[in-house]
Amino acid sequence: MDTIHACFKEKIGEVLLPGDVFSFRLPESGDGSIKSEKIICGPGLRRNGEEVRVCKSGILRHKQPNMYWIDSQQRRYVPAKGESVIGIVTTKSGDVFKVDVGGSEQASLSYLAFEGATKRNRPNVQVGDLVYGQFTIANKDMEPELVCIDSCGRANGMGVFGADGLLFKVSLGLVRRLLAPQSEIIKDLEKIFPFELVVGMNGRVWVKAKTVQQTLIVTNLLETSENMTSQQRQTLFKRVAEGSL
């Protein structure tokens, strides 16, 4: 009776294109023998009556128990609530900062949404500074809103950063791979030399290593690992490690 799961499960890891359909019969109501199943459709999947349609090209992914989504190599970011991003402050107006996050609209960030900020004690933020923040409001009909504090009012790693180091852009797919717990790319990279790394869900990555040269190496390695198998990557990293040490 695993109707819905079954048709999804056989496609996990496969490449799907917009317009592909998973059709299933809805369990008839009132029939006690079929338990209503739930699946959660993530990005790239949309329910349309008795079917689920794919609307982005990419690989079908699954997470226990019942989450499915399409993993795609998009470049343009669309804000989503709860995601952490790297923004660039573009203007100060009234009591908010306008922050470029790479979406279709600038996000607003209140002066008070920083740890320890009060009406009197305003945070020291300049135009062009980088902020790491989290979306509290992000939907298609409203201006997105960022905060740099968690629900307890703590910075928790968020706020203004990046006095030095380098900011660059990669695809959203690569960012997700970097942010995955136990990311192999980062593990491999850490073996070469130590560095600081901030990764925003919006495809922006900030890197700082001991020297300019090392920062550039890390940047270039991350950019090239986009289209590499893990094997290719490891051999490349090894060569760099041997060469630079």
Binding site: G13, V15, L17, P18, G19, V21, G44, R46, R53, C55, K56, S57, G58, I59, D71, S72, Q73, Q74, R75, R76, V78, G103, S104, E105, K140, D141, L172, G173, R177, N227, M228, T229, S230, Q232
Partner: protein
């Protein structure tokens, strides 16, 4: 130059025409994500005809063009020589409305989707090549779409022979030229743009052929996306 390639194509075709029931799509290919600036880009090559497409979106929209409940789609076709004219405007309208029908625009209200198509070389079937390039670029940009689309051009020669994916020379010599856009969900006709006169029978035959050809192009889309994701596990 063009003469040579045309004759080459012609030889190929006359051989095929002996069969009388066969027609060929020219050699075709595509490259995705080849430009660094746009959110999505692709080239589509059909024989010598070649189009480069770049897509930005969902991005900021001008206040004057903002629509409160969906994204604004703009399509620009840049000719290789001179400035765009009325013919380009008509093509832009076709491509724009096809994109509008395929994209799920209500998911990104008050934003813009801009598709820029640059003609690299015109050797026939230009509109269908524009459509194919636009579709690949939209896919590359990861914009939500309800279905894919592709373009197929058919020419009807003076003898009544249907030639699929004609070259510029064949287009010039033909009696009628029909371009269709076919959707991937039901294989129905999204766009029909014709010149010259033809019978009802011929129209329906061309539609049927285009639907057949579209299957190959959709398979090509799938193969190229598969190839692209082949290194990610």
């Amino acid at each position: 130059m063009t003469r040579m390639s045309a004759t080459r194509g012609l030889c190929m075709r006359t051989m095929m025409e002996l069969d009388q029931s066969c027609s060929v799509l020219r050699e075709y290919g595509s490259e995705q994500s080849l430009l660094s600036k746009p959110d999505g880009s692709s080239t589509f090559v059909q024989g010598d005809t070649s189009i480069l497409a770049g897509v930005y979106g969902p991005a900021e929209v001008k206040v004057s063009k903002e629509i409160y409940d969906r994204a604004t789609v703009e399509v620009l076709i840049q000719p290789k020589m001179g400035l765009p004219g009325v013919r380009e405007r008509a093509r832009e309208q076709c491509v724009r409305e096809t994109c509008e029908a395929a994209l799920l625009l209500t998911l990104h209200p008050r934003s813009s989707v801009t598709v820029v198509l640059q003609v690299i070389h015109d050797d026939g079937s230009l509109l269908s090549c524009c459509l194919n390039a636009a579709c690949m670029a939209l896919m590359d940009a990861g914009l939500p779409m309800s279905h894919l689309f592709c373009g197929v051009t058919c020419a009807i020669s003076k003898e009544g022979q249907i030639i699929i994916d004609p070259t510029a020379r064949q287009e010039k010599e033909c009696r009628a030229l029909l371009t269709f856009a076919i959707d991937s969900a039901e294989c129905n006709v999204l766009i029909s743009s014709t010149t010259g006169s033809f019978s009802v029978q011929e129209l329906q035959q061309c539609i049927a052929i285009s639907q057949k050809a579209s299957e190959q192009i959709f398979q090509f889309y799938r193969d190229s996306v598969k190839r692209r994701y082949s290194k990610i596990q």
